[in-house]
Every structure is written in C-alpha cells, then in structure tokens.
C-alpha cells in the first residue's frame, strides 16, 4: 500500500462496513455461490461440468432443494435489504451515498480520459465511486430479475394457469443467462476491484474487519476522506 506518506498516522483506520452490512454481505456471498453452483449444474447438464456438479450436490433432486433453499434465503435478504435501506437511519444514509448522479457519469468519462492521458486530473470519488455504484445497482437489478423469473419457474403450477409455455420458455432462458451475467460480473468486476486492484491486493479486508485505512481512503475516495476530516471522525 501507498501508506506512510503525509498527513495521517499509518495505523489510523475508519469504518467502511458496519456489522449489519458485513452480515448481509457474507450471506449474499454464500447464497450466490450456492445458487451459481446449483444453477450451472442444470444449465450445463449435458457436459462434464453439469454432471460433476450434480454428483457433488447429491443428485438431481437435492440440487433442486439446495437451489431453492438458497434462493429463498436470497429473496428474503433482498426484501430485508430493501426495508433496511429505506427505513433505518444507517440505511437511508448509505442509500444516499449510492444514489446515481450525473457526476458519476462524468467521473467515469474523466477516469477514462485520464487513463488515456488526455485529462490532467483523476476524478475524486466520494464514499462510493462509479465502480461501486455499478456493482451495487447491477447486483440489485440482477437479483430482482432473477428472483421474479425464478419464482415463476418454481411455482410452475401457478404460472401455467396464466402464461403460455412460450412465455415460460423465455422466462427460463432469461433466468439462466441472467445467472451467467451475474457470475461474469462478479468474477471480473468484483474480483478485480476488491482483490486484484493494486490498491487492495490481495484483498480489501473491509468485508471482514469493517475498516479501511485512512490513507487508502485519502487516495481512493478523497471526497469521503475530506468529509470525515470535516466531521472530525478522523
């Protein structure tokens, strides 16, 4: 890390994820992992990947049980998260930080221009930059879409009454590809930003300790750093 330069003491840390969010994050990680493993087992049923996964999951019947159990947990969590963000003090504050603004788009363009060597200044991010916001809203929308399609497929006795098979065929294909999309984004975007990015390599520990170093914040999220300074937290 590029600590030990100026200003703060190197050991100064600041809370980035409260316990409540760390629990939600850990649950999300487990459920998404189980859902991916049990979902791809079905999606790739005809080759070695599917066969191996289905065997590991205790056969076709248990694959289904596992998938639906994890899905129930995930959907419960989605609901809980929505209420938490809309109704609690901490949630409302975080939601405010996550709001998409015009500034995020210009930050994105500026970072590209800077990386290309055209702009002189790298954008200065608040608590969450465009990378974090893209991750958060992408995941939320994705989980919403995959939950709706998943419920339609799960409750097939109900769905068949209202939808032609044609619609359910499309529902199935959306569900599968949405899962693939979520997996690809997690793999590329999240793993890059939170593990492989030089500023956090090998891992941003905030999901475990809840804290980040103030120096890291100063370099990667300067607006948040300054705000905390003004508020006297730092």
């Amino acid at each position: 890390m590029t600590a030990m330069r100026e200003g703060t003491t190197p050991s100064a840390t600041v809370v980035r994820m409260s316990l409540m969010f760390r629990i939600q994050h850990a649950l999300l990680m487990v459920t998404l992992l189980v859902l991916a493993l049990t979902g791809f087992a079905l999606m790739y049923h005809e080759n070695w990947l599917g066969r191996t996964l289905i065997r590991l999951e205790g056969g076709f019947l248990y694959r289904g049980f596992l998938h639906r159990a994890a899905a129930s947990l995930l959907m419960g969590q989605l609901l809980f998260h929505a209420f938490y963000m809309l109704l609690t003090r901490e949630g409302k504050k975080e939601l405010g930080e996550f709001f998409l603004r015009r500034q995020d788009f210009s930050d994105f363009l500026q970072s590209i221009r800077y990386n290309l060597g055209v702009a002189a200044e790298y954008p200065r991010f608040g608590k969450y930059g465009y990378k974090e916001k893209f991750q958060y809203w992408g995941a939320t929308l994705g989980i919403f879409l995959i939950s709706v399609t998943g419920v339609l497929l799960w409750a097939e006795t109900f769905s068949m009454r209202f939808f032609p098979k044609l619609v359910l065929d499309v529902t199935l294909i959306i569900h599968g590809y949405q899962g693939l999309l979520a997996f690809v984004i997690l793999l590329f975007w999240h793993v890059y930003n939170e593990h492989l990015h030089p500023s956090v390599f090998p891992m941003n520990n905030a999901w475990l300790t809840g804290r980040v170093e103030a120096e890291w914040l100063r370099l990667e999220h300067p607006l948040e750093y300054e705000k905390l300074k003004r508020e006297g937290v730092l």
Partner: protein, 418 residues
C-alpha cells in the same frame, strides 16, 4: 420292392390303430420276441465314428407312451428276429401333415441335406417314450419345450457350425419376462420358443414365410396380446406397417425380441429412461425423417427440456416421449384423435400439470431455438450473449486502461513529492 412294402404297410398300420383291443395281445406276443434281445440293458452296437449306441428298449416307458398300444412292427415294419440294421422309422406315414411342414422347415431342409445336428422328429418328441404334448411329462409339454430347443441351441459347437444366434440370445430369453414367467411362475400362458417360431415349420426370421418375419410380428405377438394389437393397428406405425412400409416399427423394434423385459426393468428399451433413445433410433435418422416429412431435432430439444434433464438424471416420473405421444396408439399431431393434437394438449399436459389449460398449450413444445421456431427464446439468447461479451470486453479494456492510468498517477505523485 421297398415302395410296395410301404404301400402294403399303410392299411396294416391303420388297422392297428383302429383295432387296438384285438391287436394288443398279438402285439404283446410280438413285443415279447423283440424284448428277448432289446430287454437286455447291456445290448449295444458300436458306431463307425467310435463309441456305442445302446439298443435297450424300456418297454414300460413304451407302454406308457402315446403309441404304447401298438406293436414294434408298426414303426419297425422290416423287423424280424434276428435282424440286421433296420430302416429308419418314418413318422410321416401316420403324420403326413407334420412331415410335410417339417420338410419345408430349416430343420427339415438341413436334415435332408445330411446335416447330422438338424433336429429330427425324435430329437424333439423322443423315440419309444413319446407322450402327448398335453402330458406334463412330455418333452413337448409347454413347460418343457424351451429345454428341448436349448439342448441344441445352447450348444456352442452347433451354433458356430451353422452360424446360429449366440448363447447370449438364449440366456436373454431365460431372463426375459416370458422366460421368467416360465421358470419362476410356471405359467402355461407364457411364450415359449414354439409360440413364436412355430414347431414343425420353423424358418429363419429373414424369410417372408417365417412366423418371425417382420411383417408377421404384430399378428404373432397379437396371438396373446390381442388388445395391444388392436391399439397398434390403429396407430400411425401399425397403419404404416400394413401399408407395406417395412421401416414402420413392429413390436420387437421397441420391445426387443428374446430379451423382452418388464417396462419397470432398467434394461428394457421401453423403461422410462430409455424411451427417448429407443424412439430416436428411427426418429433421429436423417433418411427416415425426410422420407416421411417428420419434424427434426425431437431428441435434442427434448433432452434440453426440463423433462429431458430430469429423466437423464434418473427422475423417471418426468415425461418421456410416450407420456405425451402415447405408445401403442401413437398418431400424428394432425390427427384429431392424437394425444398431441392441439385440441387435446390441455388434457395430455393435464395428466401431470392440472393447471396447464388451453392457454398454456400455445407455442411449440419441442423448442428449437431458431428465429422461425422460437423467436422469443432466440432473441433473449442473442441479447445476453452480445451483452455479456460486450461487458467482458469493456471490463478488460477498463482494467488495461487503469493499469496505464495508475502508472501515470504514481509517477505524478512521486514527481510532485520530489
């Protein structure tokens, strides 16, 4: 001379049959003379190829046989004591119909050509101890027939010499539903060799006159499975077969021949899990689907469906081909009586999915993902494929750009400091 003797013999033999009470005592007297030698258990002759042949006759067994009231000379007409080698006994003298059909059979023709192993009358019926086929101790009693046929047909030397079906075929019968009914349950109603292959007139299945030739199979099985035959006759396969389409499946194409087992047996070709493969043996053949204008890719589209995947992984309650299309009564979807006719789909799907009404049955059941057949699924798939590819490309570009950007920031920071 020989022929004249034969001609003279015929009325005598007939008289012997009809005047049994009177001739019995005379016959006894005659037999006693024969038994002076043939009643001796040690009497034998040496064979030209080495070995010996016992010439002992079990008089008791003969008396209990169906011919037991006759005289030795009824069959051995040239016998007088003492005698040299006698002429071969001709059963056809009294059983002309049997002899006629035997002579046209594969056994009869082989025997006439001098094939030593080809079954002759006595090989199946016995010699002095012949009993009626209804008699449980008869060789040709229903429960004993398989054993009689297998005496030769399980002999590897004979099989190899004449290119006959191998041992595994015979063993398959013993394990089959018919074989088990015979062996385990002792059911008289089960199918034994002769029920399908015939008795005197056995011919190989590739000859049109054979009972087991393709075109004769439905009627053959229908002898016992009459209700099924009726359903089959009305089906597209049955009509095709009657219309002279040799490719149209008959019973054995789906059920197998000697190895027919119950549909609950996992090795049966009509066991739920094996049905898709059995049907595709014909329906995935390029020639057959184009000759009869059948829809293609039925197998792959099924195997990719929920039903197909579930079945593949052993959930046998998942619908297979027969669950929707029927089996003995399969009809094309255009036929109003077909289970997969648009009008009947709600009832067919409803067997398992009670809410799948007419609204559900809209659209294709086998989803072939092409713009013409399933635009919705096709469009979603294309959209996601492009979307995911574009995203991944952008991610990689972004990561690459950031690499350069960070080097620049680092240099600037170090430069600014220094």
């Amino acid at each position: 001379m020989k022929r004249i003797r034969t001609l003279l013999f015929l009325p005598l033999a007939l008289a012997a049959t009809f005047l049994l009470p009177e001739t019995a005592s005379a016959a006894d007297a005659g037999a006693a003379a024969c038994m002076e030698c043939h009643g001796d258990k040690s009497i034998e002759k040496s064979l030209p190829g080495g070995g010996t042949l016992s010439l002992y006759v079990d008089m008791k067994a003969y008396r209990e046989s169906v011919h037991g009231k006759g005289a030795c000379t009824t069959c051995h007409s040239d016998a007088k004591a003492p005698h040299d080698k006698l002429e071969k006994v001709s059963c056809g003298k009294c059983h002309p119909d049997s002899e006629k059909s035997y002579s046209q059979s594969t056994h009869g023709k082989g025997h006439a050509k001098g094939a030593r192993e080809a079954a002759y009358c006595s090989d199946c019926h016995g010699k002095h101890d012949i009993r009626k086929s209804g008699d449980a101790s008869s060789r040709t009693f229903r429960l004993n027939i398989v054993g009689v046929c297998l005496r030769c047909h399980k002999d590897r030397a004979i099989e190899e010499k004449y290119g006959l079906p191998g041992q595994q075929v015979m063993e398959a019968y013993e394990q089959s539903v018919h074989g088990m009914a015979l062996k385990k349950s002792g059911l008289l109603g089960t199918a034994v060799c002769s029920d399908c292959h015939g008795n005197h007139a056995i011919l190989p299945g590739d000859q049109p006159r054979s009972a087991t030739h393709r075109q004769n199979i439905p009627n053959l099985c229908g002898k016992c499975h009459s209700g099924i035959l009726e359903q089959y006759e009305g089906s597209v396969h049955g009509k095709g077969m009657r219309g002279g389409i040799a490719e149209s499946p008959v019973c054995t194409d789906c059920h197998g021949e000697h190895r027919i087992t119950k549909i609950t047996d996992p090795t049966s070709p009509v066991f739920a899990k094996n049905v898709p493969k059995t049907c595709s043996a014909c329906h995935e053949k390029e020639g057959i689907s184009s000759r009869y204008a059948l829809p293609k890719k039925r197998f792959s589209t099924y195997m990719d469906s929920f039903h197909g995947i579930a079945l593949e992984y052993g959930m046998t309650k998942a619908a297979n081909c027969a669950s929707c299309h029927g089996f003995h009564d399969i009809l094309p979807s255009a036929d109003p009586a077909s289970r997969v006719n648009k009008a009947n789909l709600p009832r067919t799907c409803g067997q398992c999915h009670p809410n799948a009404g007419p609204n559900f049955a809209k659209g294709p059941m086998h989803v072939e993902v092409t713009p013409q057949k399933a635009m919705g699924v096709f469009a979603v798939r294309v959209f996601y494929t492009i979307f995911i590819s574009v995203l991944v490309t952008l991610f990689v570009l972004h990561v690459g750009l950031e690499f350069f950007g960070r080097r620049r920031r680092k240099r600037m920071e170090e430069g600014g400091k220094g």
